[in-house]
Homo-oligomer: 200 residues x 2
């Protein structure tokens, strides 16, 4: 049955909003999608979207079933500045992936590998929710920051793949401290070190 | 229709052998699987398996649809020893992924993320076909080599994810030389550098 007009409240409405939101974020990106447009697609009033989900970033996290809220975690990683941030980032990453939220994170990564729209959502998540927030508090050269961020993303996605998805030993079973000691210097170099042999 | 007994030659026989091989390698691992057992499962003579596919490593590459033969590529990477090997490895990796073989490699990685048996095949491939061959020619401490190998695998899988699958910019569009300059030092450290702040 086709549905038309404004919907009543309830689980059905929530799901309709989330479906419309997934489509909008995947097609238009985070910045291009609007609550107004999502509400229209779902056949509800924009106020109802705000009522259920709050601001756009919260709707985005709900739509992509994000395992954690970067707005909560990132301040803990960037606090203290870039010194030691590689270590804090790897430690935070492991604490999320080793917790029950790790199953949600693995599902997200699996989906991004299999579906283009899901890969787009993951890119948007990393760019707008993680990188943009972290950049606000760090003093990185804006010309280099995007490459640094994508290098960090490459090592962190690879750590997730090797440790939790493909389960390549001994990394899959290594103690968190072993992983932090081995990988934190990589993240620190991607963050603040030279990106080529010739220069900073 | 159930098939029994010895099969005649032809494409049908090749496919039956490959199906039996995939199951055997996924269940028993590379070392545990035998040509004899695979031949029995496929209902053919072991000599026919050798005739079609050669030795076990060649059958394994065919069964997992490997994009390249490590026996050909690894000597080029390890030639010259560990000095500069990080750079040679990243350069070789990019040349494969940027070539038509990259599509096959991406399919392999996607499959490993979605299916446990495929993840097992990828682990076996990295361990027995890549690492074991490379180790023969390098003088790494055997106690550390497996962790070093899995750290290298984490960064290389992450590079494939970020550049070719999730397509995280600017890494996805960066010139190969930019990628080599940024990532080769990581591989070199995982290969020969200290793995913890306190140790060798």
């Amino acid at each position: 049955m086709a549905r038309t007009g404004r919907r009543p409240g309830g689980a059905d409405t929530r799901e309709a909003i989330l479906t419309a939101a997934r489509q909008a974020f995947a097609e238009r990106g985070y910045d291009g999608a609007s609550i107004r447009h999502i509400a229209t697609s779902a056949g509800v009033d924009p106020a109802l979207v705000h009522h259920y989900f709050g601001a756009k970033d919260q709707l985005f996290l709900a739509a992509m079933e994000a395992p954690v809220d970067p707005a909560t975690l990132i301040p803990q990683v960037v606090a203290g500045g870039v010194d030691g941030m590689g270590e804090r980032l790897v430690r935070m990453f492991l604490s999320v992936w080793d917790s029950p939220a790790g199953r949600t994170a693995a599902a997200l990564l699996r989906s991004a590998v299999s579906h283009d729209w899901s890969a787009r959502m993951l890119r948007e998540f990393l760019t707008t929710q993680v990188l943009r927030r972290a950049m606000k508090d760090l003093q990185l050269d804006p010309a280099e920051a995007p490459l640094r961020a994508s290098l960090i993303a490459s090592q962190m996605m690879g750590l997730a793949m090797a440790r939790y998805i493909v389960r390549f030993e001994p990394l899959a079973s290594a103690a968190p401290e072993t992983v932090v000691a081995a990988i934190a210097p990589t993240i620190q170099r991607y963050l603040t070190g030279p990106l080529s042999s010739s220069g900073p």
